[in-house]
Symmetry: C2
């Protein structure tokens, strides 16, 4: 019944964190996650290879582990907010409320972004995480709005929000000093609010 603060639970969390951190350390050190084996990671974290696989299915999951918390917290924030404001604003506010910029150092985020960008398997795994987010968020949104099962609209709104969030985050990671993250997110969401056709429309002969 002890789910919190038993020695056992703390040790588990510590091991998981150690494995995740070891993965990051080795990936940076060797210039790419592909050059790191599960054996390496287990050794670096001081556990057996088998234990590594008890915690994570693969190295990608280990490296992207902390992103799960971001996803969980965004979903929780969305559940809260969707009650008292329109879906689009709830999505925007939920994304802003997570404050990735305060939770992780910009150097860490940049290095991680670099690793992901260079590895197809990491890109792939991250995409899966996004899809999980999408699916769960869709449940929240459809329940809140009472939209029909086959209505495309909730999916389109949610997809747009996800794109806005991802593009804004990537932009901020690449140019952290230009503007605070919250503002970049707000700008990205705003781009969808007035219709997309206009801006990228040069004159034609």
């Amino acid at each position: 019944m002890a789910d919190r603060s038993g020695l056992r639970e703390r040790k588990k969390a510590a091991t998981q964190a150690a494995l995740s951190h070891a993965t990051m350390r080795l990936a940076v050190e060797k210039g790419g996650l592909d050059a790191v084996t599960a054996d390496d990671i287990a050794a670096e974290a001081g556990v057996s290879t088998r234990t590594f696989h008890n915690y994570f299915q693969n190295k990608e999951a280990a490296l992207l582990h902390d992103f799960n918390e971001v996803v969980a917290q965004t979903l929780a924030a969305l559940r809260d907010r969707v009650r008292d404001r329109p879906v689009w604003q709830a999505l925007r506010d939920a994304c802003i409320s997570v404050r990735v910029d305060e939770r992780y150092s910009i150097e860490l985020l940049q290095r991680k972004e670099q690793l992901i960008h260079a590895s197809p398997s990491l890109i792939s795994h991250q995409a899966t995480q996004f899809l999980t987010f999408f699916t769960e968020a869709l449940d929240i949104v459809t329940e809140a709005t009472g939209a029909a099962e086959d209505d495309m609209h909730p999916r389109l709104v949610l997809g747009a929000a996800l794109i806005a969030m991802k593009v804004a985050n990537d932009h901020w990671i690449a140019h952290p000093d230009e503007a605070p993250l919250a503002e970049v997110i707000t700008r990205a969401f705003a781009a969808f609010e007035s219709g997309l056709t206009g801006p990228t429309t040069p004159p034609y002969p």
Copy 2:
């Protein structure tokens, strides 16, 4: 120098198609791609396992092979259209021009969709294909509009188009008799054109 219609080229294409089809056949038969091994596929197609891996890195790539053609053709269509109309319309028209509904049978698409939905590795691989599309399309769009390297707008527009395309396709595959694919795509794109905030906004206390 012969890249077209040499015996060699035709044989290669035939082998690749045979492997891709064998993969689909076995996946359907065994109720999921996970239950199929590379050995199975090679045997079914009448080549060695090593040859399978000469053509495809993994079973996922084999199953999703024909989607590559769709991507290539969409990109080609986009390149064409982006010259004489606004980016957003070019994207929409390019998506419509591919006519997935005429190229594949609805049964095949539905079975494939089912397989993908049930397999994390397939979802993952498909996401990677989407990202490849995104990256290449971004090149086309930025070149056509002369947008700055760090401008979020092209990414947002492109992301929205991708979402519209995916949501429309999924919807049409699930409800093929409701409306023609082209119309569903048009509707999905239209949802972005007038601003997203409105429709999913119930009244609040």
